[in-house]
């Protein structure tokens, strides 16, 4: 695979084949954890790590994995990396681990991860598989951070980031804080935000196609 193809492999996952807005994958954790910006950043980083490691290892062992048992083999590898990340988060990022809760473990059955292993890593060499995972992962993380930030800004009137030193991580937005639309922070609001953003992305993509881009 040459450099131009690798660039296309990476960039297609950002918008054209974005996991949330284009393919509608991984919606369960997206809707559930996108209540605060810091959750979006944490879950996005987690999925990128698991995607890259799973794609790399599964691509390395693709000729060793028996066809009859390929799905269990893929899931064992994915579950190993998810558990490693879960343990590291509990040890070093406990508040983020609490916020993400059970959805960390649910990344094992996230269709984005298993889907990319089955569709790409199992048929390609390790380096292109890593690039594909990075593209899909960064696209997913970007979409998740955008959704989380919007939901927190309009649903709670604040943006929560990682605490550093004396900064507790919470940026309160004047006016919005006292008049936040609480529904945006609830599951119904999550569906609305994702729906509108998906419509916007689809509309922009359609206009670009019509212009011949």
């Amino acid at each position: 695979m040459n450099d131009m193809n690798l660039k296309e492999v990476f960039t297609k996952g950002l918008v054209k084949e974005n996991a949330i807005f284009a393919m509608g994958l991984g919606l369960c954790p997206t809707l559930a954890v996108s209540t605060m910006a810091v959750n979006g950043i944490g879950m996005g980083a987690l999925v990128i790590f698991v995607l890259v490691c799973s794609n790399f290892i599964n691509s390395l062992i693709r000729n060793f994995v028996p066809d009859q048992a390929r799905i269990p083999c893929y899931i064992v590898v994915i579950a190993t990396f998810v558990t490693i990340v879960d343990l590291i988060m509990q040890a070093y990022f406990p508040s983020l681990s609490e916020s993400l809760g059970v959805f960390v473990k649910l990344v094992v059955v996230n269709c984005i991860v298993l889907g990319r292993v089955e569709a790409f890593a199992s048929k390609n060499k390790p380096w292109p598989s890593v690039i594909d995972a990075l593209g899909i992962g960064v696209g997913f993380a970007g979409a998740l951070i955008l959704i989380s930030a919007l939901r927190e800004i309009f649903g709670a009137g604040s943006i929560t980031l990682f605490p550093i030193g004396n900064f507790n991580g919470i940026i309160k937005i004047p006016l919005l804080e006292s008049k936040a639309a609480r529904m945006v922070g609830l599951p119904a609001g999550a569906l609305l935000v994702v729906g509108y953003l998906r419509a916007l992305v689809t509309s922009l993509a359609a206009k670009k196609t019509a212009r011949g881009g």
Partner: protein
């Protein structure tokens, strides 16, 4: 048989390698996780009530996981229970201090995954005011309607029911003398 044996053997090898990797990471992370949980619990106990611990132990009674027999100058002997209700976002840890007659001295919501701005408000000290000094002659509120300000729990009913249910269960355990 041979056609199944080879794939099964390969899957076993992959599982063994995965188990090895997990074992190594767990050996490093597990002590840190346990130390952090113990420190967190100690901090929450300190926020709950001042006192000297006399005895403690594990419990296998419903949502009650651990008990601490304590005493201080103002309350005399009292019991702190570590309760594990399930809230909107999953399992929670609730620390509650009871007098021997089952009335609640104070409670603190420790570990939880409740929604920020909604269920997470139960972490505030003021949230537990509606439960304090109840559980003996005056029962602990079991529904939002039984509280003095139902609006305070509006929109977070699941969290409220989890907290109140656990506090009532703890109070009953103390009243029935089921704490060693």
């Amino acid at each position: 048989m041979n056609s199944l044996l080879k794939p099964a053997l390969k899957l076993a090898i992959i599982c063994f390698a995965a188990a090895l990797a997990l074992g190594l990471v767990n050996a490093k992370a597990s002590p840190i996780i346990e130390a952090r949980k113990a420190a967190n619990l100690k901090e929450k106990l300190g926020a709950l009530i001042e006192g000297e611990a006399i005895a403690d132990g594990q419990l296998q009674a419903g949502q009650a996981k651990h008990y601490y027999r304590m005493q201080n100058a103002s309350e005399g002997n009292f019991i702190v229970l570590e309760l594990g209700p399930s809230g909107y976002g999953g399992p929670m840890t609730l620390l509650a201090a009871y007098r021997p007659d089952g009335s609640l001295i104070n409670a603190v919501l420790a570990e939880n995954s409740e929604t920020p701005g909604i269920g997470k408000l139960a972490e505030n000290a003021s949230y537990m005011e509606m439960f304090k000094n109840k559980g003996a002659a005056e029962p602990l509120p079991a529904t939002a309607a039984e509280t003095a300000s139902p609006d305070a729990v509006s929109g977070a009913t699941v969290t409220f029911l989890a907290v109140s249910g656990a506090l009532i269960e703890g109070s009953n355990l103390v009243k029935e003398g089921k704490i060693p």
